[in-house]
Amino acid sequence: MLAWLQNPGWILIGAGLIQPLLPYRLRAGLLVAAPAAAGAWLWSLPRPTLVTAELLGYTLTPLRLDPLAFVFALIFLIAAGLCGLFMLRVRGRLEPAASLVYAGAAVAAVLAGDLITLFVYWETTALASVLVILANGPGTYRVSLRYFLIQVTSGLLLMAGAIAYIRVTGDPGFGAIGLQGLAGWLIFLAFGIKAAFPFLHNWLQNAYPAASPTGTVVLSAFTTKLAIYALARGYAGTDILIPIGAVMTAFPIFYAVIENDLRRVLAYSLNNQLGFMVVGVGIGTELSLNGTAAHAFTHILYKALLFMTMGAVLLRAGTVKGSELGGLYKSMPWTAAFCIVGAASISAFPLFSGFISKSLILSATAYQGAWIVWLVLLFASAGVFHHSGIKIPFFAFFAHDSGIRCREAPWNMLLAMGITAVLCIGLGCYPDPLYAILPYAVDYEPYTGGHVLTQMQLLLFSALAFTVLMRTGIYPPELRSVNLDFDWIYRRALPAAAAAARNATVSARGETIDTLCRLGDRAGHYLGRAFSAQGLLARTTATSGMVAWVSLLLAAYLLFYYL
């Protein structure tokens, strides 16, 4: 038992479980204290650490702390602390408690060294995260259910894959898996669902904007990056991940341009950023895997920051629809400034965090000579600046003044945003501490004159394109709308097909019964005519007639006999 509790994730899980029983001040304190304690615990563990335990004849590994796990566990704990600070004033009991358990399970999953332990924490994140969404009220019931079904499906695939894998190898250890056999594909699909691969992605854009202003920030940090970690652990260098990742970077940005709900825009751009990490895993070189880990680290921070600013806007202005916002910089200047820091970071401006992490992946792609993928990533880099870097701050805080006047975000939210913004700028200006904890030794200098210049050209001319398109009126205006995505298949097409199939079955059943009844009626009618009192078989006949027929038959016999 003790072996299991050595995982720092359990500090958060335990805190989440007792938290609802405590008075408000202690609840709020735990939200920040528990991640801090778990962080200290993680920091104090020697690297590498391996703790094993026997269970049902298998050697399980409740705790494996190696460089790859450390980066992800550390950033998860930082994110948990920042989210805790951001939701400090939430009065409800469900959301903070579920958030703590969710973050703890994610940390524990990253530090799990075998597939069975991973599965348990994998499902715990699904369960806890759906509670985070549900905490936003009864309006989220259906979207929560859809989200939960998809997450549990991922867990079931992982379980099936793990069973198949252990049967083949006899070892539950979670290391490189690769796409060999059924087990490899099942686990790949399980990871792919949580990593929001194309066509498996819509749970993300559906569920994240449905959570509360604070809940979305929590959701944005853990599930997808846990999947990225799992892919990096199990499928590094798997070629098919390169095209998958490239598609992931490119297609969500088209949706992000026309989406009106700004938190959904961020969900699409989250999907796009995951694509960069997936490409890094697929390339599988030391540089690219470092890039994936570094990008996950910086991405969690700037994405959380962007979701925090939009959460603050939702809280104060009552909406995050681009069509209804504008001019908020007058009411929320600090939030606007933090949003711009997040936007600059995700756009990979030099001196901001995205620049020092995304460069690793782009360079690794170029070194492989994969020029088509490199061009797609460059297109996605320009695109992400366009929709996340410009669109989010512009339509929320500037554009034309909507007239909405509200208060600035509460102090705890400003503090959380401020710390996150400082981290984004700090990592961008001084990346060495991050580079030092990456899985492999880093021999990379992001700040070369040529690199800074080309990145600035890309961003400046993307901004130029936005300006020209806005001034000429070509840029699509923000409209109250929803856009069809792949979820249309299971929200509309499949239910419609099922309803049509049901209607067809019902009417076929009716018609069959009708036909049978008609045939039965007709048969009954004929039989009745034959057997009824007036029927043929009941009719009386004259004796003379019978005698005439008998003689006729006898005559026929006689005739045949002689013939």
């Binding site: 309006g139 509360s212 000579g369 695109g383 003044d401 080309t454 890309l458 070509i474 699509p476």
Partner: protein, 97 residues
């Protein structure tokens, strides 16, 4: 989150022009952007750059790629919107999303 009712946003019926919305200032920002764009391209004569992929070394590659990519993105998204856009209550199943 429990908030006091006085936190409800109020609507300014006649939002005056802020400093950032004044047409003259908007023009200044835009002209500044033009200048920066021009400067970034001119700097290529000075700054040495080393590209792994040969075509990325063409003069102003990142500049025109960024511009063309974004214009293409928006034009494609406009077409996409015609196909994909539905009214806000399209999935009206009592859902928050």
């Amino acid at each position: 989150m429990s908030e006091r009712p006085d936190n409800a946003p109020r609507i300014d019926p006649d939002p005056g022009k802020g400093r950032l919305e004044h047409p003259r200032n908007v023009d200044r920002i835009v002209h500044g952007l033009y200048a920066l764009c021009a400067l970034s391209v001119l700097l290529e004569f000075v700054v040495h750059r080393h590209e792994t992929l040969s075509f990325a070394g063409w003069f102003g590659f990142y500049a025109w790629f960024g511009f063309v990519a974004c214009v293409g993105l928006v034009l494609a998204a406009r077409v996409l919107r015609r196909v994909l856009m539905r009214s806000e209550d399209y999935y009206d199943d009592g859902d928050a999303s």
